[in-house]
Amino acid sequence: MHDNDHVTNGSQRGVSTKMVEIAVAAGILLLGLVVMIDSSRVGSSWADDGPQAGYFPFYVGLILCFASIWTLWRTLFFAKTGVVVFVSHEKLRLVLSVFIPSMIYVGAIYFIGIYVASALFIGAFMYWHGRFPWVKIVPVSLLVPVSVFLLFEIWFLVPLPKGPFEALIGY
């Protein structure tokens, strides 16, 4: 934060909005093409008994392509001149510092169950982002999974993914 205070917003380093806009529109275009190709694979015309499975999605794909080309065309030829920052590197780092742990967390659920993973995730997050002392981290990160456990497994009888630790205590 502190070293950026004297820099104006426009000259901040970061990813340009135009690039992201083009990337997203291109992604949508690609998706539209996939939808159209797959729809014509399953048949997008008229069979003896009525419209085929790809009849409706084919047009969805077509309009999807049309809309993304429209956006691409608008961005490429009519976008305001000058670089508008979509997200500065610093902010991107902040966003990724939430997103990457979340990805690891989701992966961890698969192996160690949701309860242990949640405790570790909340604890790690509080440690890295909040710089909390351990006396605060430990109670919070234990309290949340335990109350979730009581609410879901015991009261509402909704099973959540469990790992070796839960197996150890008999669940």
């Binding site: 797959d38 790809g54 993304s68 956006t71 989701v106 949701i114 909390f132 919070v140 909704v158």
Partner: protein, 508 residues
């Protein structure tokens, strides 16, 4: 006065000890959801939906709709005290609400916000009570072409009324339709776009999309802003409430205008957010103190709050009568109805009288309970926001993950939720609207089947969509909505062309 009788019967259904308790829990959870960033009406209801599967449908929908009312109320608290809109529809409330709070009139602003929300919702519920049976009766004569036409109208109004660029609205909408088409086609039994994976057989559930788009996406956005909550302390005592109430009748015209805008935007799926902005803008233009707006005028709180709450409430009218939700949250509630085995639409009013009128009665009760709850508990909610974001953020991610998992007990859904989170983040920053995407995802199958049935009826002739007066006029209206941006632009050009030769404003 059939409706009054049915409504009284509905009160008898809703007014059980158990349902009142669910109402209370719903409101509390709703306010909590409304206050916390990253959780909102739509994904809050989506996350809690699996918990209600074991409840009787009437109690379940009462609780879920009360969560929705609670979220509508809760958004105002953060807007006024912290200048952080907890919900998109309370952005306009910050304009005058927060300045009032900074001037030491927080209690007044909150009371005004809650009361006008209540009034907006109440008028909308009264409208639902009398209009819904009529609409349902009318739509009983709808065939597949008419239903497709209404759905077309729904989606075209997004293009016409939405504030985003038409290309982006259409892209978001079609993305929703495309995702809805993934999986097993129930008519022909063909697998569509599964690319050989059995996991995709199930298709994309819109609940996962809602949790990812609104939950994870919102967390990423909030993180970027590097949020530090700096709030104003608030205490509401009966004297402040009473004094504010004495002032409010002065603004009856603003409130009425806000409510009407809200009802209109809620029924046509404009949604609560544009309704609140529109109401604020119009109030500013017509008020005597228009130029003082933004410095802390009560009127500037009344206008957006009545509109937002009226829109949020009346979004349930098309959901119940036509099976077409007017907002993402209404869409989630619709998904709930389907899961409980209730088919929303005109027949619901014939076959499930208890359910429908119980729900409508609970809207009256829920809003009264809501008003009392928020007026008495404001300091607690403000205290929750003082919990640092680095504690709240991971907990919300955990809650979202649990919500996504419990929909189908599938791990893939949790991963998909993260993917939708990224889409939500990118789309929000690039001004792609999320509501049409969610609605298309929900209505995709329904729209497709009514389209197919119409095509079967007409043997592939598109002309069935203007074959009679009813379907023709709905389609005509839809086309008007679709081309509305073009029409207004042309009108604008014509008018400015007459007045000055070269417009000073750049064409946008």
């Amino acid at each position: 006065m059939d409706e009054i009788n049915s409504l009284m019967h509905g009160f008898a259904v809703a007014l059980t000890y158990q349902n009142l308790m669910f109402m209370f829990i719903g409101i509390l959870l709703g306010v909590l959801i409304g206050v916390l960033p990253g959780l909102g009406g739509a994904n809050g209801v989506a996350i809690l939906l699996p918990l209600t599967f074991t409840m009787p449908p009437t109690s379940a929908i009462i609780m879920l709709s009360c969560i929705y009312w609670g979220a509508l109320f809760g958004g105002a608290i953060t807007s006024i005290l912290f200048n952080i809109p907890g919900e998109p529809w309370s952005v306009a409330t910050t304009f005058d609400g927060h300045p009032m709070a900074k001037n030491g009139r927080a209690g007044e602003a909150l009371t005004a916000a809650f009361t006008s929300s209540f009034v907006g919702a109440l008028i909308a519920v009264i409208m639902i009570t009398f209009l819904a049976p009529l609409v349902a009766k009318f739509s009983l004569q709808f065939g597949p072409p008419e239903f497709f036409a209404v759905q077309l109208l729904t989606f075209c109004s997004f293009v016409g009324l939405g504030k985003g660029h038409p290309a982006k609205t259409i892209a978001a909408m079609m993305l929703g339709f495309a995702l809805a088409a993934v999986g097993l086609d129930t008519v022909t039994g063909t697998l569509r776009m599964t690319f050989g994976t059995s996991e995709l057989l199930r298709g994309f559930d819109f609940l996962i999309a809602v949790i990812g788009l609104f939950g994870i996406g919102e967390i990423l956005l909030t993180m970027e802003e590097g949020l530090a909550f700096k709030g104003v302390h608030a205490r509401i005592n009966p004297r402040v409430v009473w004094q504010t109430w004495k002032q409010l009748p002065k603004y009856w015209l603003t409130a009425l205008r806000g409510t009407l805008i809200g009802c209109w935007m809620g029924i046509t799926p404009g949604g609560a957010t544009p309704a609140s902005f529109m109401s604020y803008g119009i109030a500013k233009r017509f008020s005597k103190d228009g130029e003082k707006f933004g410095t802390g005028q009560i009127e500037g709180v009344v206008a957006p709050e009545t509109a937002a709450h009226a829109a949020g409430t009346s979004a349930l009218l098309p959901m119940l009568t036509l099976g077409i939700p007017g907002s993402p949250t209404a869409a989630v509630l619709l998904g709930g109805l389907l899961i409980w085995g209730l088919q929303p639409g005109p027949l619901l009013f014939v076959e499930q009288k208890d359910f429908v009128w119980g729900l409508i009665a609970s809207m009256y009760l829920g809003n009264i309970v809501g008003l009392i709850v928020v007026l008495t508990t404001v300091p607690w909610w403000a205290a929750i926001l003082r919990v640092p974001f680095s504690i709240i953020a991971p907990i919300i991610v955990v809650v979202c993950a649990i919500g996504a998992y419990t929909v189908h007990n599938a791990m893939l859904d949790v991963a998909l939720m993260l993917m939708f989170g990224v889409i939500g983040y990118l789309f929000k920053k690039l001004d792609y609207p999320l509501a049409p995407m969610v609605l298309a995802l929900v209505l995709g199958d329904m729209a497709e089947s009514s389209f197919r049935q119409s095509m079967l009826l007409s043997r592939g002739e598109v002309s069935i969509f203007w074959s009679n007066g009813l379907v023709g006029s709905i389609c005509g209206l839809a086309m008007l909505m679709l081309f509305w941006p073009v029409i207004t632009k042309l009108l604008h050009k014509l008018r400015s062309g007459n007045n000055d030769l070269n417009g000073q404003r750049p064409v946008e």
